[in-house]
């Protein structure tokens, strides 16, 4: 009896398997008639949902190409995967890669610069944010298409400032503007609410230098040649660290440390009204607006006193077209990139994720207008992006080993936050980075010949 049951169940399973298999085959036959574009991305949460939505729209909008999105883990892991699978069947036709990997991906020689397609199509790039474009270009040539893009900004709790009768910081604050607000908040709240937090995060360090107009690496931050040394000990870097140390000294500063927990702790403290201001990526907006009933205020990134702000560069990631696929496939990848950059897509992208709409025309889309009506402060990051004129110090650093740079500047920041001598800490980090740059250049030049 038992055996019979087994046999029946095996037969049923076999039939189901055969049916399933033919169904899969049918599907793949259908897909085969269209050109398959494998697209690797690293978006999670809301970003992933919206991206999949875009893919669905694109796939149903035409019948020549079919985009297959694949999630590839975090940014760092993805870089290694992209480099190691190139030239195999597993490699993507289109991939998203983070801001700091730009120089590394470019130097691998594994990509077709999107400039080629821009020229072919006479595609009008002037609609797309100049600062974002500058970040991903080399010698005026567009290497990849900026995609999910954020700006560093200062967030403040407007409700909390109002409660204690404090004038909010101006839209384009200097360091001493921030010191004033932070100190007042700390004093007037009876030392219950801390004024400000600056996460120990190398990206923010880079932005302080950018906004102060100081190069972090030589050869104009790598825009005119491979950097051979770095500069962490310049005027702006020292000024900024001195400013932070003074905030720590007068008790209004809150240090959340470094690493994945730091940003989360900082966010939790801000949402629960324990700190009044913090510096972070504009991509946090949706989390902040949904996390608290308090009114959110946003200003531009603070700049050193007695000088104009130079403008900050961007963060996020860009889209690259791999050169190991046929020209037809590459063409398809480019079509999808163009689809993502339309005013409509970009507006939807900002509303869904908090990343900035890069297409100028997106500002006229009703979906974005309604969003601004609901959250007026959400306008600020985009304004900051559009007012910045790209130059060599605010268009990112074109250098390999930026992850190492961030680790080292973060260590220096940790030491400084704990009271170490600013010059010593920065010099130590600079020395370590210089020796890294030297050996990295040595190791990579030989492979490129």
């Amino acid at each position: 009896m038992k055996n019979k049951k087994y046999i029946y169940s095996i037969i049923v399973v076999l039939i189901l398997a055969i049916l399933g298999f033919t169904a899969i085959q049918k599907n793949s036959v259908q897909a085969n008639s269209r050109i398959k574009i494998v697209f690797w991305h690293e978006m999670t949460g809301l970003g992933q949902t919206q991206l999949n939505e875009f893919v669905k729209e694109f796939n149903s909008s035409q019948n020549k190409y079919v985009v297959v999105p694949q999630f590839e883990g975090n940014y760092n892991e993805a870089v290694q995967k992209i480099l190691n699978t190139h030239g195999t069947d597993a490699s993507p036709a289109l991939f998203q890669s983070m801001d700091v990997s730009t120089s590394q991906i470019y130097n691998s020689g594994y990509i077709t610069p999107v400039q080629k397609f821009i020229d072919q199509d006479n595609y009008d790039t002037s609609k797309i944010s100049a600062v974002a474009r500058a970040f991903y270009s080399k010698n005026g040539k567009q290497l990849s298409m900026p995609f999910n893009t954020s700006q560093p900004v200062l967030y403040y709790n407007a409700t909390l400032l109002k409660k204690y009768g404090i004038t909010p910081p101006p839209v384009n604050p200097s360091y001493s503007d921030i010191t004033r607000v932070a100190t007042e908040l700390y004093q007037k709240s009876g030392k219950k609410v801390k004024g400000i937090s600056v996460e120990i995060y190398g990206w923010l360090f880079e932005q302080f230098l950018a906004n102060g107009g100081e190069s972090l690496a030589n050869n104009n931050d790598g825009h005119s040649g491979t950097p051979t040394s770095v500069n962490f000990t310049g005027k702006v870097a020292t000024k900024t660290m001195t400013w932070i140390q003074s905030l720590i000294k007068n008790g209004t500063f809150m240090n959340f440390g470094a690493g994945s927990s730091a940003a989360a702790n900082e966010m939790a403290a801000f949402l629960s009204g324990k700190i009044g201001m913090f510096l972070q990526s504009s991509a946090d907006i949706s989390q902040l607006t949904s996390g608290t009933k308090d009114k959110l205020g946003i200003t531009y990134y603070p700049h050193p006193d007695n000088q104009k702000s130079n403008g900050v560069s961007i963060g996020g990631a860009s889209l690259w077209i791999s050169n190991d696929k046929s020209s037809k496939v590459q063409q398809g990848a480019w079509q999808f990139v163009k689809f993502l950059m339309t005013a409509k897509s970009q507006a939807a992208w900002q509303v869904a994720t908090g990343y900035l709409a890069l297409n100028e025309d997106s500002q006229d889309e009703s979906i974005l207008k309604n969003y601004y009506k609901k959250y007026p402060a959400a306008k600020i990051p985009g304004q900051q992006l559009r007012r910045t004129k790209p130059n060599n110090t605010n268009s990112g650093i074109f250098m390999q080993g930026l992850i190492q740079e961030r680790t080292l500047t973060q260590t220096a920041m940790e030491q400084i936050y704990n009271g170490s001598n600013i010059k010593n800490s920065l010099t130590e980090a600079q020395k370590a980075m210089n020796s890294y740059v030297t050996s990295n250049n040595l190791a990579n030049k030989i492979s490129q010949k």
Partner: protein
């Protein structure tokens, strides 16, 4: 019984056969070797592919600079080793690792033993406590990290609220170097306790009760019983646990990655975390291979010392 007899008879027969083979000039060991190869072959093959080859490759890579793709490009000999051993930040990592490993091992063993001893008491509801004490075995590292992060959170965390309620200044657990190490040690010990408790508890159960009865008749105190009966009887277990905890804590990664990311100021940047950072974040495969080789040597030395020193005190 029957089967055993049959087996031994078989054995006799086969050994007689072998004897007769020898006289015929046939090497009996050849067959043994063939069998040995057949039985060991598969595992040897797997070990060779997944252990020996990577080991040799690591040593090879440790002598090179590597490019972005991880390929060795410039041969630098022992320069990587010299760079590391003269770098103050690496030496700091080394010292931090030693402090961490020793603190974690000792605390885990002592607290685990205390808990196990307490759990042998026959009081009401003891099985509940036994379950609780061993519960951390079922907790994954990421869950533990989130749990401890909540406790250590500087503004809304449990500990800081407790400190504020008691009118004490809250400690910045994860941002001040000394406290960060303390926080990591506390969480690791907590993670380890479940396993250690279970092993010790099992060992304590296997100590014959008659020994304690004899001691009681002699009038020996509880503490005398513990140090002169319990400890010697479970010493093999203590030895085993100490080696396992030591090696495990040399390799700890998850809690550090999730709680401090090696900070603040490299205070919790232990050797394994450094290897990960250099290889998978900085793409410095050569240097991280060098770090791996050094770590392997250190663990080997520690294990050797433990076998030499501790084993003498173990009564089997």
């Amino acid at each position: 019984m029957m089967e055993n007899q049959a087996k031994s008879q078989n054995f006799k027969l086969s050994s007689e056969k072998e004897k007769s083979n020898i006289s015929l000039g046939y090497n009996p060991y050849a067959k043994d070797k063939l069998y040995a190869l057949l039985f060991l072959g598969p595992s040897l093959l797997i070990l060779a592919i997944f252990v020996f080859y990577p080991m040799l490759r690591t040593i090879y890579l440790s002598l090179f600079l590597t490019n972005n793709l991880g390929n060795p490009t410039v041969f630098v000999g022992i320069k990587n080793y010299l760079t590391l051993l003269t770098s103050s930040s690496y030496i700091n990592s080394l010292i931090a690792t030693l402090i961490y490993v020793i603190a974690v091992s000792i605390l885990t063993i002592i607290i685990g033993l205390i808990l196990a001893q307490a759990a042998t008491k026959k009081v009401a509801g003891i099985s509940f406590f036994r379950t609780i004490f061993s519960a951390t075995m079922g907790v994954s590292v990421s869950v533990a990290a989130i749990f401890w992060l909540f406790i250590f959170n500087p503004s809304v965390g449990l500990l800081s609220q407790l400190f504020t309620a008691l009118n004490l200044t809250p400690i910045n657990w994860l941002t001040e170097p000394g406290w960060a190490m303390t926080a990591i040690v506390i969480s690791t010990v907590w993670m380890n306790l479940g396993f250690t408790f279970l092993i010790f508890f099992g060992a304590l159960q296997s100590v014959p009760y008659t020994l304690y009865e004899a001691a009681q008749i002699e009038g020996a105190s509880k503490s005398y019983q513990f140090f002169h009966i319990t400890l010697p009887m479970i010493s093999p277990t203590i030895f085993f646990v100490s080696i396992i905890t030591l090696i495990e804590s040399f390799k700890s990664f998850g809690l550090i990655d999730l709680m401090t990311a090696g900070g603040p100021n490299n205070a919790t940047n232990l050797l394994v975390y450094r290897i990960y950072q250099d290889a998978f974040l900085n793409g410095n495969y050569g240097l991280s291979s060098t770090e791996s080789v050094i770590l392997a040597v250190i663990i080997a030395i520690f294990t050797f010392i433990q076998f030499k020193v501790l084993e003498k005190r173990v009564t089997y």
